[in-house]
Amino acid sequence: MESKTITITIDGKTYQTQEGLTIMQAADQLGFHIPRLCYHPKLSIEGACRVCIVEVEGVRTYVASCAYPVMDGMKIRTNTQEIRRARRDIVELILDNHPQDCHTCERDSNCELQRLAASMGIRKRHFEGERKKYEKDLTSTSVIRDPNKCILCGRCVRICSEVQKVTALGHAHRGFQTVVMPAYNMPFRDSVCTTCGQCINVCPTAAFVEKVYTQDLFAKLNDPSIIKVAQVAPSVRAAIGEAFGLEPGRAMEREIAAALRRLGFDYVFDTQFSADLTIMEEASEFLERFQGKGKLPMITSCSSAWMKCVEQFHPDLLENVSTCKSPMSMMGALVRTYFADKIKKDPKEILSVAVMCCTAKKYEASRPELMVNGLPAIDMVVTTREIAWMFKSAGIDLLHIKGEDFDEPLGLSSGAGAIFGATGGVMEAAIRTAYELYTGETLMDIELESLRGLAGIKEGKVTIDGKEIRVAVAHGLGNAATVLDMVRKDPDRFHFVEIMGCPGGCIGGGGQPYAGINSMPLDEECLKKRAEALYGIDRRKTIRRSHENPDVQRLYKDFLGRPLSAKSHQLLHTHYKVKEPRGIIPQELKVR
């Protein structure tokens, strides 16, 4: 049904708008940016911060514009002296219970509270009251929780429960004592947290930040006795420009390769290479299962937050999860074996660093079953944000550096490897290869539009040798839960399911650059542009199918034998087991 057009007045001027919008939504469309803090367009309305108050004629008190619907004839004032003062007081009171350590804070210059205070014209702190004092939770491999920085906007609680359906966080206690924490105030490490890092993405302050390894890495990079090896995930190149002030969507792979060498790495490899390798293994595994050897639907296993999620929230489906390691861990395994042999070095002397868009990869690197010959596959994981900071700190000008290629023998990739970073990309890449492995013919129409874009759940069909293969793609752990319910209800509905833990896929990962001044965290336009950067890389490549990657072919010929060989199984595959505490997904999920 078309919504009704109504007339409202904002700050003395009359405008047409649509019934059913909130004041804030209507104002946004008309070019009024009402200040806000707890509001996020992807989350439910909390109305907690009261920063977005406006004056509505005839209403006795100021109203929260995020929650108040527009009505025909409504007269709204957004910027009177009184409302400006009231808003400023509200922000000053928030600041009163917030540390005064901006210049040493992780989020300095990237903090929404800081920007808000500046836009309110707060240049002096008037209130000096009691301030909260809590211990930081440093137990997680990935996410640091610092309740002292928390302003109780509740965005983290909402994204964790509404978008991810993990509900690792809640508000506990009340009034001045309210703290956002896991159940029983247990260490984050022991909770149901999947380490996806979306709480970091939406936090307006530094109440959630990633576990930072930048200083450790600088120290190691200065150690001449070790071989320093880096790998870079596809999505890092699609977003790192934003940390340098560029608009989203610029692909910077060659720049990153050059910058990492300047930082001190001896070899810079591409996780897209091991993404191609993942496809070889995963497409082969799928075809085995499709031919009766193993459970269907097969579910992808690249996303580390999803790995932890499936073990805690969906233990009944562990057999459906592909045994393939993630591209990061496959690369890690090859660096310790194939590559160490090639350069004739003891694997112990190699520092294996992964530059990832992801906080959960820090967790994945700590999984004991991914060790290779007694060594961790990956020594250190740094996020896009961390590496961007390191480049800046080391005076490396990413915007003007001359691009360089990744190193052989683990640096060449197909376009299929690049699109891994966007939701639907793994499925698309797998189909390109599975088709050819099964039929012996090359799939010509390789851009699978139905699997692209930001719809929460996408379904598609491909016909391979007369047989229909039904696939589904979900991004974000909440959408994943919905797809899995569809699978439980009708196990034959899909043959192959791709799941990525974060909204948009890896491009929306928990380690990606913070939103800029004109953007919101997880803004769809931004995610689309990052995805487009990856699809652009794919289009520009002459090799667009993983099995055509000549270095992958050489790896099989010289080292692994063939996909799913004993050696592949030993190095490139893993297993999952049920983990405690058991995760709980409340309320009936709507099954389509």
Partner: protein, 160 residues
């Protein structure tokens, strides 16, 4: 004393009933009340049990259990001492009575003694201002307290 198994069954029955009605998730507070009635307090094992049975995330249950003062998250003592800090009692020396209890039992307000005998709380007016200052142990009011008398009363519980 109800046996542990019976408590578990009683709570299970209560939850099954809640689940069969409309909006089972809105029964959480009632379930927590029932659990506390049975166990005296809410510990992690009980809340985990409620979470799994009712399909409510533990972080949410924890939020509710910590929000309301009524819910005890730690075990209660065999006896509860409640010292009145209402105006009349206060004027007549309730502060000294409270200090005496704290010192005698080596606990603060809201805490339980190591031996599990007493839990100390404060209260505002028990409606017996004529006897001020007063305290209540379980359901009996003790009036016209002095520090000395307070100690004697507490000690009498250990002699029983």
């Amino acid at each position: 004393m109800i046996a542990a198994e019976d408590k578990k069954t009683a709570l299970k029955e209560f939850m099954e009933k809640a689940k069969s009605g409309d909006h089972p998730e809105s029964q959480l507070i009632a379930i927590l009340h029932r659990a506390q009635e049975l166990y005296g307090h809410l510990d992690q094992a009980v809340m985990d049990d409620i979470a799994l049975t009712m399909n409510i995330p533990t972080a949410h249950i924890w939020g509710v259990a910590t929000f309301y003062h009524y819910f005890n998250l730690k075990p209660k003592g065999k006896h509860s001492i409640s010292v009145c800090l209402g105006t009349a009692c206060y004027v007549k020396g309730a502060a000294q009575v409270l200090e005496t209890v704290k010192k005698e039992l080596k606990i603060d307000i809201g805490e339980t003694t190591q031996d599990g005998m007493f839990t100390l709380t404060e209260t505002r007016c028990l409606g017996t201002c004529g006897l001020a200052p007063v305290m209540m142990i379980d359901d009996k009011v003790y009036g016209a307290l002095t520090p000395k008398k307070t100690v004697e009363i507490i000690q009498s519980f250990y002699k029983k």
